[in-house]
Amino acid sequence: MKIHTPHYRPASSRREFLSRAGAGFGSLALTHLLSQDNALGSSKPTTQLPNYFGKAKSVIFLFMEGGPSHIDLFDPKPDLNRLAGKPLPPSFNRPITAMGEQDSPILGSKRTWKQHGEAGTWVSDWLPHTSTIVDDIAVVRSCWADGLNHVGSVCQMNTGSILAGRPSLGAWTLYGLGSENHNLPAFVVLTDSDSKPFNGTRNWGTGFMPSTYQGTPFKFGDNPVADLRTPAGISTRQQLEKINFINQLNRKHAVPRAFQSDLEARINSYELAYKMQSEIPEVINIDDEPKHIKDLYGVGQKQTDANAKNCILARRLVEKGVRFVQLFCGTGSKWDAHKGIEKNHTDRCAETDQPVTALINDLKQRGLLDETLVVWGGEFGRTPMSEKGDGRDHNPWGFTMWMAGGGIKGGQTLGTTDQLGLYAIDQKQHVHDIHATILHAMGIDHMALTYLHNGTEEKPTINQGKPFEKLFV
């Protein structure tokens, strides 16, 4: 069942009573409420989403938390090694750096670089698996962001703003498109360790929007979602009978209050909750995957195990119609190589390269890649200048992300940074542009998707940005 609930401007007059007909985790589609709303004549007209563009039904955002070094992975800079040990040439505008090592010399890159695939995409030897799928991915080397440190930058990559309080991109997507499976959360968050990502739940929060649209973290194990399990000592049958009794009370209560539609919604929510108690454990049970699939992703290998499981689960969720899956790879800022970038990135790449590649291949072989947009990237890149001798500082002025599937034309490399990879210079893509691009792939015009909050028509990209059209087929 596809319940398509297009974004609507909430009618403030009824807003307080409106049980949100949105798309979030187990929210209840009450489309008649919307029509009622208009019948009141009290609200502004419902904006229909234009049939804009976009093939993607789902997004899998592979978030490399901490900031991978673009100049050691996708954006080769021979001048780095030429200028290694020397200060930043005077022609460069000197930025305020996060750790404040103002005059550190350039750090050379120890990578071996090769062009791969038919397109000849440059990938370093840190990503041997990814280099086999370059013809499916589009590399964007000219991304930039506003934040200097993790808090602001992670917040911006997830919500558009370096300041807290705005809805996450996943929340906007749900608000705009609704869900295709109401027995599962439509926006799921997976982390590859017990560490918490910077900013925690705000990365998948809803800011000023109703909590209906928020992301739901899943965990492997007995209790994948908070309060999913019936309390110990209560049998399934007892629980079911209890729900029946509650709803018997509620139905009777609703009779003289038939005009109050959220009462009915609450009755449905109990039945839905009961269904989720069996549906969620089922979807997270990846043990039933065949061995060759597990091997493809790297399940059971020490370094890849966590991301392999998350990537398989991401695929399973997308298959079930989940709209937005956010994976944190290197959760808790583990890509943040202020020192010892060699060891740090060797480990991070080994943890993610195979699972991520397997995800693209698996989606492709199942025919899901066309309708699934996969986005790879961190909150920023890293500086050409060294830090603590053998590390690199944060670089929000120029960094690389890549996208695949969902209408993206693979085998391209777009945008450029300067000769050292410090600043993006050509076809610059701000975070707002990246978000506009992701929404575009989903068929959402980022300027038409609005949410009225305190009198302001809030938009996902804060009235800025535009889709990077060259990325698309």
């Binding site: 403030s12 009573f17 409106l18 929210s27 909590s211 049998s235 007892q238 509650i246 009198g455």
Partner: protein
């Protein structure tokens, strides 16, 4: 965007024939067209009299006349009055956020039957006088001002004194502080009443912005903070979203780009000084005198101590300052007297980061220096007796200087400084600002000017906004339904004349909120029933009930759901005020510690505010996770058990009185006969299900300790000292915590604790599986919180899982309170019988803990030993705390989950050969507990089941079924909604 905006200003200024880019007053006024000028919200308050109505009996006051006139014009009849039961429930939740109890309902119903109006009046008066009123209405205010008790951002540091502002708000509501004063105090209490500690606390309003503690770009940070204050203040006090005007003239409202920065100028000079205290001049004087004495007497020791760290402190400072851009470094090294206000502000934020860095310096000292520092700290402590008690620290605001920093229009070529001023459309002139004379620090007087403008009775913005908020909270919809947005992007008022009449009435009655509440709640409009089918005319002309031909059904907010559950189970702790408490305390939600990042269970599930945005109306969502929480979370279940415990006390086992009581306690009414028969069938069905299929993992079935012998089987039997039987100590079981009573004497600060146990499971989070403790789990450092705890870490512990640890809150050598975790790094696996021990040695010459652990599942496992130092010298054995097995005193967090076979406490530091595991017989232990069926040794132990009430009957199918009934009623819509 900036380019366009500059262009716009440019055009206008050229048009005005001026030589600079700044639009002056005339040019500004010209940017507002007649249509904008005619917008209703900017018109002065009208002075309407109550309209004439045809139905002369319905209206009880002017409010009703305004409402009825509109209804009559549409030929719609107002609804009849709700019944007494509905009225008292509605009024109670509206005014105090709690349900009435059965006695209150009975008394009201009786009075109402005789004289409805008198009964209503008396009810409203009683509720308005209840201190719970401030808790309820203060919370509304806290929503608006995005109250939170932490910094936000990644670190989300706790703000330990922020709660004083929360208490001030609650007190102000309870005291019915006139709203004009309430406004003035929050914006400029420091300038207006510098000697009134309450006025200082009130300025906490200006401290509620999120703060990023490691932001290096302090200029950007400051700009963001004053922007945010401008935005929030515009929304909260003026009902205007200012944000759009930050980048350009507001597209929809006559708020000019300049107006944003004129308004921002009022706040440009703020200085969030952390040394501000809430104290009277007399207290400050006494404190200063006493402090001076202490400083003189302790000067030498302090100098000596400081000299031991001076070098390291300087290095820390330098290293930290270096992290900032050279521009900020330069400012930082200027002396204060050479700094202007803007430089002082920058310096302050750099200094905060320096302070954090320096704070860790003493702890990092090594060898000689460390020893010397400790000695001198001890030496310094000798002067403590003469050191005055610190004055109450608060988060408050003052100005940096008399001259405020200059505000420019951001991202603009316009370099003309902005001067403080109000919205051009209302007051085009610059604000008249006079620096106050009597403040403790030089101050600009800007905020006073702004507060006085807001608090004028003829301010059509602030007065309409506040009465509309009252209306919103009483009807679930405002006269202007967009309560934070009265501009063009909001909704038009449904009853503009009523709004203005109320605004005037409000200011004429001394800006009293309580008088306005009473006026509204005694009106026929508010007293209407909600369960009314719309008439044909209503369906035709006003299907959305905008004209209020009936009351609105409303769902309770998160706080009321939580608090009403506790009220129903009679567990609500009515204590008011004080520092925020953990969720496990059974206090009202408003007193829960309110961190910004992790939100509490109820606020997170039931649409609580996010603490970053001004929340003027709560969302009402209906989601499956709400149902999951209500069905499966421990909190509602514990309330259901507490109610069931009371209900099953009665010897009378007939179900009907029990069902009556369950309905009365939870839904505040008698069940119908149909409901009784349904409930009877449900009870039987649930009991039968319990009997028929005993659940696989039931943990709460018997009154006798559940004996676990299997876990100890292979090896235990042969060894002396290891019992075959163990008590099951598990959360939610009857023996979830066991208090050890009647010790011969309390242990000293050096003692030995030994246990033989098997841990079933870790927590999923970082909570500790406590083996035994004398502690309440509080690490705040107050004397109340002193104590020790012996336990095992869980999955997300910073010390890694399965780590055997001691936790202490006690005194260090300087006499300062210190919380320390001593981790042994000995790993205690789950599902494995183990011997564990900790020998705590505490002394001024060096304190340590010796940990022991041995795997009892395998023969010949070695006894592992680790010695770890700790820094505490006294106060560990706190006489105020109980000795608890399997948990902590006064809290249900950090409980054991497994079985404990033996626990021995000895009041001295045992040598290795004296340990139980060596086969030694305990010599004169304070307590040596073993557990054999059928019951625990009652002379030593007190059982502490979940909730404060003990079940009087064994847990059985009947009890389970009663719990299920109570739990169902707590889950019902009738409980969650008010008519």
């Amino acid at each position: 965007m900036p380019a366009n905006k500059t262009y716009l200003i440019l055009i206008l200024t050229i048009f005005a024939g001026l030589g600079n880019l700044r639009a002056d007053k005339e040019a500004r006024l010209k940017r507002i067209d007649d249509k904008e000028r005619a917008y209703w919200f900017f018109q002065p308050l009208a002075n309407p009299s109550a309209p004439k109505v045809k139905n002369t009996t319905w209206a009880k006051n002017e409010i009703d006349s305004f409402i009825l006139a509109k209804l009559e014009a549409q030929n719609i009849q107002p609804a009849a009055e709700a019944d007494a039961h509905t009225l008292i429930r509605r009024a109670s939740f509206d005014l105090i956020g709690l349900p009435p109890n059965q006695e209150e309902i009975a008394a009201f119903e009786k009075a109402y039957a005789t004289n409805p109006d008198a009964a209503m009046e008396k009810l409203i008066d009683r509720l308005l006088q209840s201190p719970h009123y401030g808790e309820r209405w203060g919370r509304h205010w806290l929503d608006l001002v995005r109250y939170g008790e932490s910094n936000g951002y990644k670190a989300d540091e706790y703000r330990p004194h922020m709660w004083r502002y929360r208490d001030w708000v609650i007190d102000a509501f309870n005291a019915d502080m006139p709203y004009d004063q309430f406004t003035r105090y929050q914006l400029a209490g420091d300038e207006l009443a510098p000697d009134d500690p309450a006025a200082i606390i009130a300025t906490g309003y200006l401290r509620l912005w999120p703060y990023e503690s490691n932001q290096r770009d302090v200029a950007k940070q400051w700009n963001g903070i004053t922007d945010e204050i401008t935005d929030i203040t515009g929304a909260v006090f003026m009902g205007m979203s200012m944000g759009c005007a930050k980048c350009h003239d507001h597209k929809f409202d006559p708020i000019l780009h300049d107006d944003y920065f004129r308004m921002k100028s009022f706040f440009a000079g703020i200085y969030p000084d952390d040394n501000i205290v809430a104290a009277t001049p007399e207290e400050k004087k006494q404190y200063a005198a006493a402090m001076k004495k202490w400083e003189v007497s302790s000067a030498k020791v302090r100098e000596q101590r400081d000299s031991t760290v001076a070098k390291a402190m300087a290095a820390a400072k330098e290293a930290q300052v270096k992290m900032f851009h050279p521009d900020f470094q330069k400012v930082y090294y200027k002396t204060d007297k050479d700094c202007n206000a803007w430089e002082l502000q920058q310096k302050l934020f750099v200094q905060r980061q320096v302070d954090v860095r320096q704070k860790s310096v003493p702890g990092k000292l090594k060898d000689e220096a460390k020893k010397r520092y400790a000695e001198l700290t001890k030496e310094l402590a000798k002067f403590d007796a003469t050191k005055p008690k610190a004055l109450t620290p608060v988060y408050a605001i003052r100005d940096a200087a008399e001259l405020s920093p200059v505000v420019f229009i951001a991202d603009s070529d316009n370099k003309e400084p902005m001067t403080p001023g109000y919205l051009t459309i209302l007051s085009p002139d610059d604000a008249a600002v006079t620096p106050p004379k009597n403040t403790s620090h030089p101050s600009s007087g800007r905020r006073t000017a702004f507060a006085n403008w807001l608090a004028r009775p003829d301010n059509q913005l602030s007065t309409r906004v506040i009465v509309n908020r009252l209306w919103y909270y009483h009807f679930g919809r405002g006269i202007v339904s967009s309560t934070n947005e009265f501009g063009n992007q909001g909704q038009l008022p449904t009853h503009p004349e009523l709004l203005d009449w109320m605004a005037r009435n409000f200011t004429a009655n001394g800006w009293s909120l309580k008088k306005m509440h009473k006026l509204i709640l005694t009106s026929s409009t508010w007293r209407q029933a909600s369960l009314v089918e719309p008439s044909a005319m209503a369906t035709e002309n006003d299907p959305g009930n905008l004209l209020l031909w009936r009351q609105q059904i409303r769902r309770l907010e998160a706080e009321s759901i939580h608090d009403a559950m506790l009220a129903s189970s009679n567990e609500l702790d009515p204590t008011m005020g004080g520092e925020g408490v953990p969720e496990s305390k059974l206090r009202r939600t408003v007193y829960q510690k309110l961190m910004r990042n992790p939100r509490t269970l109820f606020l997170n599930t039931f649409d609580g505010p996010d603490g970053f945005n001004s929340c003027s109306s709560r969302d009402i969502t209906t989601t499956a996770p709400q149902a999951l929480m209500m069905l499966n979370n421990r909190f509602p279940m514990q309330r259901a058990r507490a109610i069931a415990n009371t209900l099953t006390k009665s010897k009378n086992k007939s179900v009907e009185p029990l069902i009556d009581q369950a309905f009365e306690k939870i839904l505040k009414r008698q069940p119908s006969s149909e409901e009784t028969s349904h409930a009877t069938a449900f009870l039987k069905q649930q009991a039968d299900l319990v009997k028929a299929s005993p659940p696989a993992k039931i943990r709460k079935t018997k009154i006798v300790p559940k004996i676990k012998t299997t876990a100890f089987k292979p090896f235990a039997a042969k060894e002396t000292g290891i019992p075959k039987q163990a008590v099951n100590v598990q959360p939610d079981s009857l023996y979830q915590k066991i208090e050890v009573k009647n010790l011969k004497q309390q242990e000293s600060d050096s003692f030995t604790i030994e246990a033989i146990l098997s841990l079933d499971a870790l927590y999923d989070d970082a909570a500790v599986r406590t083996i035994a403790s004398r502690w309440n789990g509080n690490s705040s450092g107050s004397a109340e919180s002193f104590g020790w705890s012996f336990g095992i870490t869980s999955k997300k512990s910073a010390y890694q899982p399965n780590n055997l640890i001691m936790q202490f809150t006690a005194e260090d050598i300087a006499g300062n309170p210190l919380y320390q975790v001593i981790a042994s790094d000995l790993r205690i696996p789950t599902q494995t019988p183990y011997y564990v021990a900790a020998v705590i040695h505490t002394g001024k010459s060096g304190s340590n803990v010796t940990f022991y652990a041995q795997d009892l599942s395998k023969k010949n496992s070695p006894l592992q030993t680790v010695i770890k130092p700790h820094k505490l010298v006294g106060g560990i054995s706190n006489p105020k705390r109980a000795l608890v097995l399997g948990g902590r005193d006064q809290t249900l967090s950090s409980m054991f989950d497994g079985s404990i076979a033996r626990l021995t406490l000895t009041d001295r530091t045992l040598k290795a050969e004296e340990l139980l595991i060596k086969g030694a017989k305990p010599k004169a232990p304070l307590s040596d507990l073993t557990f054999a069926p059928p019951t625990l040794p009652s002379n030593l132990l007190r059982l502490m089941p979940s909730g404060p009430q003990k079940p009087t009957t064994p847990v059985d199918p009947y009890y389970q079924s009663v719990v299920a009934l109570c739990h169902s009623l707590l889950n019902s819509n009738e409980f969650l909604y008010i008519d």
